[in-house]
């Protein structure tokens, strides 16, 4: 029986070869024509080409999320300013005033906001990116496009908020007459790093959430604890030096340290092993995230 089927397959493939070898030759238009081959148990080779074809969708989905987010709100976009502002005030009060944490001679609000920039980006990115597949489930079960776009564009949406907060940071620096050091030129690298971390973690969580809705409860925990475990409200130099390496296992430590180093300069001395660990972790998270996402993506429509 099995043999018979094999022979059958061969006949089939033979037939196919005959039918589609012809059209390739005649014109350039034909050559450009998309041919799609889908085979059971094989990853699709055209995935990355599709991603390119649908590139505008990154923009459209992010645009949608931004448009929708502040509809029917009174103060609208101001929310992306109010949120970091209030968090900054609270954290400054708790850690700076009550906790009397060292500020290394910097205005405490500046220190806090500098840590909050990457942290808020990362935390909104993983909570919204993680939820993005499930909240777009109707789309996933009815239409095809690379699902990666949903998650990444939701991270891009958070990136927009990040830049709004960054503008606030600039205002605050002017207010405190604070001139950033030359290292500020390296800031884009750290933004890239936090973006990579967000996409990597977002992909993992989103893919897992499709199957295990438990992550709907886990992510808020990560976000809640992460705020205190990461050096958002304080400097990582307050961590005893023998624990520093261990502390740096949290990738947000390296990223936040990097942000402070770029924006606030020498006062916050950079801890290079921490940065190195962070870069390696982010790369691993990103690569495995993409691999895991790709391997489960094919069954999203069946599971969701």
């Amino acid at each position: 029986m099995l043999q018979l089927r094999n022979i059958d397959d061969k006949i089939m493939t033979g037939k196919r070869d005959l039918t589609w070898q012809d059209p390739v030759i005649p014109s350039t238009e034909k050559a450009e024509m998309t041919q799609l081959v889908v085979e059971a148990g094989r990853t699709e080779r055209q995935y990355w080409r599709d991603l390119w074809r649908y590139r505008e969708l990154f923009y459209f989905l992010a645009w949608r999320d931004l448009l929708v987010r502040y509809k029917q709100t009174l103060v609208g976009v101001s929310w992306s300013l109010i949120r970091p502002l209030l968090t900054m005030v609270v954290l400054t009060f708790v850690f700076g005033r009550l906790g009397k944490m060292p500020s290394g001679g910097m205005p405490y609000p500046l220190l806090v906001l500098c840590g909050m920039l990457p942290w808020q980006f990362f935390s909104t990115a993983i909570s919204e990116g993680g939820n993005s597949l499930v909240s777009n489930s109707s789309m996933i079960s009815k239409i095809y496009f690379p699902r990666l776009i949903i998650v990444v564009s939701s991270v891009i949406t958070s990136l927009v908020d990040f830049f709004i907060s960054a503008a606030f940071m600039i205002v605050l620096m002017i207010w405190y007459r604070y001139v950033p050091p030359v290292a500020v030129l390296l800031l884009p690298l750290f933004i890239l790093l936090v973006f990579g971390a967000s996409v990597g973690a977002g992909l993992w969580i989103a893919a897992l959430m499709v199957k295990y809705r438990d992550f709907r409860f886990i992510v808020p925990f990560i976000v809640q604890f992460g705020l205190y475990l990461s050096p958002v409200g304080f400097q990582s130099s307050v961590v005893p030096s023998r624990l520093r390496l261990f502390y740096s296992l949290n990738p947000m430590v390296g990223i936040i340290d990097g942000f402070r180093w770029c924006l606030l300069g020498e006062q916050s001395k950079i801890y290079f092993p921490g940065i190195a660990i962070c870069v390696v972790e982010v790369l691993i998270m990103l690569v495995t995230g993409i691999v895991y996402f790709r391997s489960t993506e094919r069954t999203f429509a069946d599971v969701i």
């Binding site: 089927r5 059958d8 397959d9 089939m12 493939t13 196919r16 039918t19 589609w20 012809d22 059209p23 024509m33 998309t34 041919q35 799609l36 081959v37 889908v38 085979e39 059971a40 148990g41 074809r53 649908y54 505008e56 969708l57 459209f60 989905l61 645009w63 949608r64 448009l67 929708v68 509809k71 029917q72 109707s138 789309m139 996933i140 079960s141 009815k142 239409i143 095809y144 496009f145 897992l208 199957k211 295990y212 438990d214 992550f215 094919r298 069954t299 429509a301 069946d302």
Partner: protein, 431 residues
């Protein structure tokens, strides 16, 4: 033009359903099991896999669809039509087999996928277009056409959540209709919207079909399938059952119902079970064959475990080409006070004025509130009208084409120039 647009080879899709251990898919089970006793966990996973029930929604399907062909896919609910379309539109992947698609594909499995309630019509056109695979430039160039087709100019800047359902559907179809793909895959999307718009959509689809593009069209509307398609593919139990000229396949499909149907359905939520639906003639005998002008009695046996107050029952008689006539409590208001326990409801259609063709009876049951759908509108019984039309005033050699005509004929009378009159009536001769 004999080039292949879609070539499907021995494709199959398996779904695993039911009989899984409760919580087997929750993470607690997965994590806990894996951590405590990794080996036993692995074993137990293998065992649960064995216990799962595999359903092949589609298996061993091979099809060759040529460029420019317009194919209607028909079949009962759950036969695998939608699975086939989902595979071809790449929403899900096949479990076995392979297929090759030549050309840009657009699929429309649902009207308004990706529409966002909060966004305006204008914004949704762009968003939906992008989701369907159009570039921004393409959408821009088609924008006016889309708006014109959808007839919503005045509401372009209103959020779609304020749209009537008709406007919503019109806009959604308009976007999809302007995709201009080489291959268009359409699932039962015309079931929505009013008749005028449905016709407009069908018109648009036939334009697309005539422009040499390949169209795959799934519908329960046989008239639409016949009008639009040349080739019919009947999917039954996950396999290609018939494949050929659309008229023949659609005819055979329609006739097949009469043989197999014994209707039974149950809605646990409302505690209503429809035990069966029997058709009887005026002598009270169960029958599936009637003569023009006969009385047709539809007898519904039910069992209500819960009290159902003031239900609305609607019956419709449908021919191959669509609806003929109905008996609808929603309109006539003769609703029973309540249903409780077992009982029967019957409806007698007097002197059915139908030509000899095949017919289906559809039924819907709604609760006291119209929004409570207890039994969705569906086929419950089938019958044939048979008889010699010569007895009813039909003469001539073309009478045989009555098989394809509009089926309802009310009595009429011709007055001819020579002063003669001729009357035709599908009612039993008084003699």
């Amino acid at each position: 033009m004999s080039e292949s647009a879609i070539s499907i080879q021995n494709i199959g899709k398996r779904y695993t359903i039911g009989q899984r251990k409760p919580g087997a898919d929750g993470m607690r089970h997965a994590l806990e099991g894996a951590m405590r006793t990794p080996i036993r966990w692995l074993k137990s996973r293998q065992q649960t896999k064995l216990k799962q029930v595999d359903i092949w929604a589609l298996r061993g399907v091979s099809l060759e669809i040529k460029r420019g062909e317009v194919v209607g896919i028909i079949g009962a609910n759950g036969a695998g039509k939608s699975t086939l379309l989902k595979l071809l539109s790449r929403i899900t992947v096949p479990t076995e087999g392979r297929f090759v698609v030549n050309g840009r594909t657009a699929s429309l499995l649902e009207v308004g996928t990706g529409f966002h309630q909060e966004l305006t019509g204008r914004e949704n056109i762009f968003l939906n277009g992008a989701i369907l695979g159009m570039t921004r430039a393409e959408i821009m160039s088609k924008f006016d056409e889309i708006v014109e087709f959808s007839e919503i100019e005045d509401f372009l800047d209103t959020p779609v959540k304020r749209y009537s359902s008709g406007m919503y559907v019109r806009l959604a179809f308009a976007v999809a209709a302007h995709l201009e793909p080489e291959i268009l895959i359409v699932d039962e999307v015309l079931a929505v919207g009013d008749a005028a718009f449905q016709n407009k959509c069908l018109g648009k689809m036939s334009t697309i079909a005539q422009s040499g593009r390949t169209v795959l069209f799934v519908s329960h509307n046989m008239e639409a399938v016949r009008n639009l398609c040349q080739r019919g593919i009947w999917i039954k139990d996950g396999k290609v059952y018939r494949d050929g000229n659309v008229e023949e396949v659609a005819d055979e499909y329609f006739h097949s119902f009469a043989k197999e149907a014994v209707f039974f359905c149950s809605n646990p939520e409302y505690g209503l079970t429809i035990k069966n639906v029997v058709l009887k003639n005026d002598r009270g005998e169960a029958s599936r064959q009637f003569r023009p002008g006969d009385d047709l009695i539809v007898e519904i046996s039910y069992e209500a475990q819960k009290r159902i107050t003031r239900p609305i029952i609607a019956l419709g008689v449908l021919g191959i080409n669509g609806s003929c006539f109905t008996a609808n409590m929603l309109l006539d208001g003769h609703r029973p006070d309540y249903l409780m326990g077992t009982g029967r409801i019957s409806c007698r259609f007097r002197g059915i004025p139908l030509l000899p063709q095949s017919y289906a009876i559809k039924m819907r049951v709604q609760g006291a509130d119209v929004s409570e759908l207890i039994v969705g509108y569906q086929d419950v019984a089938f019958f044939d009208v048979v008889g010699d039309l010569a007895e009813y005033g039909y003469v001539g050699e073309f009478t045989r084409f009555a098989r394809y005509s509009t089926p309802v004929v009310v009595p009429y009378e011709w007055s001819l120039p020579d002063g003669t009159t001729a009357s035709v009536a599908l009612c039993r001769s008084v003699s």
